[in-house]
């Protein structure tokens, strides 16, 4: 057995374990957060898929961006994301994160989330129903299992690109070292 094979298999085991237990950060932006209580509680019950809420960014590995992001919220979101430990996944939620949605001509909301944070996938809709959310999260689980959810690595690799875009709308951004 060569070294790469061991490393590869170990990574597969990690990926498999990862997709069985996803801790979702309970950080709600915009109006989409209202779809999460029915998704979490008994009607749709996302804990049967191994997804549960987490209270702090340091314990979480899934960041759901549930709706429009004003530039002020984006700053908090970036600080939150940088506090999370890798592997971490960002899911854009609702049409606002995709192209601005109904806030497309607002002076104060960003239009494309993936310019500021590495997004694994988008769940389209305004707002997406709990069925759509579960469908999206199941797809995310598959992506994690296949090792395709590599947003945190893309963030590291293209750090300059993300930082530039962030600073273009926010001005100065504090960086944790």
């Amino acid at each position: 057995m060569n070294n790469n094979f061991v490393k590869g298999s170990w990574q597969e085991i990690l990926d498999w374990a990862q997709n069985k237990s996803i801790n979702m950060l309970h950080y709600c932006t915009g109006c989409g957060a209202i779809e999460l209580p029915p998704t979490m509680t008994s009607r749709y019950d996302m804990s049967r898929f191994g997804i549960g809420p987490a209270a702090t960014p340091r314990q979480a590995d899934l960041l759901l961006v549930t709706g429009y992001l004003s530039t002020k919220t984006l700053r908090r979101l970036i600080y939150t994301y940088e506090q999370m430990q890798a592997p971490k996944f960002v899911v854009g939620f609702g049409s606002c994160t995709i192209n601005g949605g109904m806030y497309w001509d607002s002076y104060n909301t960003i239009k494309q989330l993936d310019k500021y944070l590495p997004v694994e996938m988008y769940i389209a809709g305004c707002m997406p129903r709990p069925e759509a959310i579960l469908d999206g999260l199941l797809k995310l689980k598959k992506m994690i299992n296949n090792g395709e959810a590599d947003g945190y690595q893309r963030y590291q690799d293209n750090l300059e690109f993300y930082h530039q875009n962030q600073e273009a709308v926010l001005g100065e951004v504090q960086r944790t070292q």
Binding site: Y107, K111, Q112
Partner: protein, 165 residues
């Protein structure tokens, strides 16, 4: 307890209004000259209009004026008064009402942030909702939102077809 007509009588006698109107039941609109406004606020407060719901601002670009609207309510009369005054758009300076209602400080801060109106006597007019805002106050009529958005953000590219206005 006064009704709307008795209230307008009281206002007409004491406040020199430019225009008064009963908009509908429990709702009265009064226009005043800027120099009389602060005095009128304190007069009405001492006549049971103790609740300042909010202060709002309207930008009349063509007429070169900001209209400040003070929304008062009385728990004795159950009547809302909209107390309106028009100040010049340039330089857009008015008196603070925070000596009468401390909460006015926040409403004025909000109006300063979104319209750029200065309130003399209110020394806490820093940013409240926006962050690092370097441009014209965004609720002014001469702030071109569309142009600002086009400059500041990029539209998503759908199969090579860029969004155009």
């Amino acid at each position: 307890m006064r009704n709307e007509k008795e209230l307008l009588e009281l206002i007409n006698v004491h406040l020199e209004p430019q225009a008064v109107e009963i908009k509908r039941e429990q709702n009265v609109s009064v226009e005043l000259a800027p120099k009389n406004l602060i005095q009128a606020l304190s007069f009405l407060k001492s006549h049971s209009y103790q609740h300042l719901s909010t202060i709002s601002c309207v930008d009349w670009l063509e007429e070169g004026a900001f209209e400040l609207v003070y929304h008062l309510f009385s728990y004795d009369d159950y009547i809302n008064i909209s107390l309106k005054t028009r100040i010049k758009r340039e330089p857009g300076i008015f008196q603070t009402a925070k000596e009468i209602w401390p909460v006015a400080e926040f409403y004025e801060r909000d109006i300063h942030e979104f319209f750029g109106v200065e309130f003399k006597g209110n020394d806490n007019l820093e940013e409240m909702i926006l962050e690092n805002w370097q441009h014209l106050p965004p609720m002014r009529k001469d702030f071109d939102t569309r142009e600002f958005v086009n400059d500041q953000y990029e539209w998503r590219d759908y199969n090579g077809q860029k969004h155009t206005d």
